[in-house]
């Protein structure tokens, strides 16, 4: 945002600091608490609403002979179910919904910036969507969900005794390492997604500052589209592997 009268007042580092900073949109006051709602939280609510509406509309009138939209949805759900069953065996159907939700939400979250209206020729876009996984709080939330699922599923499926046994197998001195895994896994999951998206975002900002035409759309194919997709896949895949490790 260049102010009138001071064109190009922002240096590149100021621009990037502005772009990666997370702004508070509004504050909810409830129960004597002031809860600040950041732009990433707002964006994630919007994505949730869109996904919820889409899944409700697409599954409202299922037919024996599928329509075109139903075929797409059936393909996606079938893919997720097959993926879960392949990695988790007969427990797959219990986890397919959770893993599929993470997968679809992260794809939506990473690809959301592509829906920013295009500005230019003196037209300022009314809003700019920045990748919401540049906020470590969003990715950390997902990582906590995953590790709680891993812990609870291990406890329920193996039983308390089996779970305790798995902590000291193959040898008793493995216990501290097994316990440490419950910290390291979510931290690395959260940091991987956050770091990748933020890194790609900063690189795109640098490229746009250096050369605003021609180059950004080409490189955005890699940094925004490909990287976002791959990271969503990696996150969902690693969650599946962690769950599989916990329940076998």
């Amino acid at each position: 945002m260049v102010e009138a009268g001071a064109p190009e007042a922002m240096s590149i580092s100021e621009r990037i600091t502005e772009a990666i900073s997370i702004k508070t949109v509004f504050t909810i006051r409830a129960f004597g608490l002031a809860i600040p709602i950041s732009d990433t939280i707002l964006a994630s609510w919007i994505i949730m609403a869109v996904l919820f509406l889409a899944s409700w509309l697409l599954t409202r009138r299922l037919k024996e002979i599928p329509t075109r939209a139903q075929t797409l949805v059936e393909g996606l759900v079938g893919f997720i179910n097959d993926f879960a069953e392949e990695n988790l065996g007969h427990h797959g159907k219990h986890f397919a919904a959770f893993l599929g939700t993470i997968f679809i939400f992260l794809i939506a979250a990473n690809l959301a910036p592509l829906f920013t209206p295009v500005g230019g020729f003196g037209y300022e876009p009314p809003f700019i969507i920045r990748p919401l996984t540049r906020d470590i709080n969003i990715t950390a939330g997902f990582a906590v969900c995953v590790i709680v699922t891993v812990f609870v599923s291990g406890l329920v499926i193996k039983g308390p005794a089996g779970f305790a046994k798995s902590l000291v197998s193959p040898m008793a001195f493995m216990l501290p390492f097994k316990l440490m895994e419950y910290i390291i896994k979510p931290v690395s999951l959260a940091l991987r997604l956050f770091g990748n998206i933020l890194g790609a975002f900063i690189i795109m900002q640098l490229i746009e500052a250096a050369m605003p035409v021609v180059l950004p759309p080409i490189l955005a194919m890699y940094f925004d589209l490909f990287d976002g997709l791959i990271q969503a896949v990696v996150f969902a895949f690693l969650s599946t592997v962690y769950v599989a490790e916990a329940i076998e």
């Binding site: 990666i20 690395s188 940091l191 770091g195 990696v234 895949f237």
Partner: protein, 74 residues
């Protein structure tokens, strides 16, 4: 040396972690293509192992990035 300059140098050094990730992902990709060329029917399983491998190899570079960001925007 003032602390700001030291932090900037530290941030630059932290990004050198990318070296290890680059080598690791390069080796993993090369071996994956070799494995798929040898056994194309197992490509699904190979790709799964490959994805985990690059995700773990990449983690070091991400930690470097996070450390350098912490130093830059502290």
């Amino acid at each position: 040396m003032n602390p700001q300059a030291a932090a900037l140098i530290g941030a630059a050094i932290a990004v050198v972690t990318g070296l290890g990730a680059g080598i690791g992902i390069g080796i993993a990709t090369g071996k994956t293509s070799e494995a798929i060329a040898r056994q194309p029917e197992a490509s699904g399983k190979i790709q799964g192992a490959f994805l985990i491998g690059i995700a773990l190899a990449e983690a070091t570079a991400i930690y470097g990035l996070v450390v350098s960001l912490l130093l830059l925007f502290k």
